[in-house]
């Protein structure tokens, strides 16, 4: 049998929905990362975050690097923004009962995507 995903381990969609809303609240209130969402439609943002967090946890969604690149390419994100999002997600997961080990797993999965999300320095 396939190994249990984090998505399943922490209670499936009902748990993930709380994580997404909590993550969304913190990001919007952040003065560093928040402004990137100034013109983003709520429904779109929720949709993206639900799917992205589900995919990070091994749930029923997946993002290709190509999709992530296109979603973020015009934002000119810097490493510090990415760091803050990683830290915010880690904090949110910990708050929702994720073990330190599992938080680290998710951080590592997110880290792999850094290069497609953060603006590449081409100078």
């Amino acid at each position: 049998m396939a190994a249990q995903t984090l998505f399943e381990k922490y209670g499936g969609f009902s748990a993930v929905s709380k994580i997404v809303l909590s993550f969304y609240d913190v990001l919007l209130d952040s003065d560093d990362v928040g402004p990137f969402f100034d013109d983003v439609d709520m429904a779109r943002l929720i949709d993206h975050q639900t799917k992205f967090i589900a995919s990070l946890l091994g749930g029923p969604a997946s993002y290709t690097d190509e999709q992530l690149y296109r979603l973020h390419e015009r934002l000119d994100l810097e490493d510090r923004h990415f760091d803050e999002v990683v830290a915010t997600l880690a904090g949110t997961l910990a708050k929702h009962g994720f073990s330190a080990e599992d938080v680290a797993t998710v951080e590592a999965r997110l880290e792999i995507r850094r290069s497609v999300i953060v603006r590449q320095n081409v100078d």
Binding site: L21, D38, M42, I46, D47, T50, K51, A54, P60
Partner: protein, 351 residues
């Protein structure tokens, strides 16, 4: 006196702190007369709004007035963005029953979380639905593969019960075919080309067989076995197999005319009982067993290239419909002496 004051104070405190936004508007110019704390928290921006249309520039004041005149109340759902946070409010206006001054009471509730959850459920349903479609597609693929391995009725039994009970089919007609010099061909020519051509030929055989209701049982290297009368009995089983055998040869003759590689087959056909079953647990295969299978194989061995050899049962059933040539009695290993016949294509000139 002091009691009355405190109740008023409490009322005001309640009105201020309640989790519902409350405001009073002047009915004439829609300027704000009062806003409670919640309302201010939700709507107040740097530039304070004086009137309703400062706050909600897109709001349909005309509709509000019309509804208030008619129904005394007006409800709407509005979006408002404070800083970057878009909130959605259910908003209700009613005319205050005051003594003619004209005030409108505005009450609004924050329904953002409900809308956010709805968006999330939408998003999640999309994911689940897409996954369900993928699973369904995969299931269809698996089913298609399994249906290539066994007849549908057997597959249905297998799916329902997890096992297949061996079943006797009697009578059926069996066709066994192999290719002359295949081993040599596979060794000398490019194996990839040989296999690809074999695949073309078997696919053509499958289509021909299908037209006559034959069930391809299996192929093993250059051996091809097909059956008529299974899983559904048919009175025409002998005729179906004879027709198929003749068409296999016609197909190869036509193909050989245009191809450098010459494929020449030998065919044996006969009738009798067989047992069909799924064999194996992890790697299952549907197969048939019985005297008719062995005999068809021996008869195939008696054929020269592009010939069809058969025996008494088929001859008896089909002698009025097909051309046969008696080739004498012969001892067949494992069977008694048999009268053997060549089945000829009636399109071929009589030699």
């Amino acid at each position: 006196m002091s009691d009355k004051m405190s109740i008023e104070a409490i009322n005001e405190q309640l009105l201020r702190a309640i989790g519902v936004g409350v405001a009073l508007l002047d009915a004439a110019d829609h300027s704000f007369i009062y806003q409670n704390d919640t309302f201010v928290e939700w709507f107040a921006t740097e530039a304070e709004h004086k009137r309703l249309d400062d706050l909600l520039p897109d709001f349909d004041i005309g509709a509000l007035e019309a509804e208030l005149d008619g129904n005394k109340r007006f409800t709407a759902e509005i979006k408002h963005r404070k800083k970057r946070r878009e909130r959605i409010f259910a908003i209700e206006f009613t005319r205050a029953a005051d003594n003619g001054n004209g005030m409108i009471i505005l009450v609004c509730q924050n329904i953002s979380r409900i809308r956010e959850l709805e968006s999330m459920i939408d998003s999640y349903s999309q994911m689940v639905e897409r996954n369900t479609r993928e699973i369904k597609r995969e299931k269809e693929q698996v089913e298609k593969l399994l249906l290539n391995m066994m007849p549908r009725s057997v597959y249905d039994e297998f799916k329902t019960f997890g096992v297949v009970i061996p079943k006797l089919y009697d009578p059926v007609s069996v066709l066994m075919l192999d290719f002359v010099g295949f081993t040599q061909m596979a060794a000398s020519a490019d194996p990839a080309v040989t296999v690809s051509e074999l695949n073309d030929i078997y696919s053509a055989f499958d289509r021909i067989g299908e037209q006559y209701g034959c069930e391809r049982i299996k192929t093993m290297g250059d051996a091809y076995i097909t059956v008529s009368g299974l899983p559904d009995p048919t009175p025409d089983h002998a005729r179906a197999v004879a027709n198929v055998a003749i068409r296999f040869i016609r197909y190869l003759e036509r193909r050989n005319e245009g191809h450098p590689n010459q494929w020449r087959c030998r065919i044996g056909i006969t009738s009798g009982p067989v047992v069909g079953s799924v064999i194996g647990i992890q790697k299952y295969v549907y197969d048939i067993f019985g005297p008719a299978v062995n005999l068809a194989s021996r008869l195939q061995d008696c054929s020269e290239a592009m010939e069809i050899t058969t025996n008494e049962p088929i001859y008896e059933m089909l002698k009025d419909q097909f051309r046969f040539e008696h080739i004498g009695k012969q001892d067949i290993r494992g069977f008694n002496e048999q009268d053997l016949y060549r089945l000829r294509d009636s399109r071929q000139p009589i030699r």
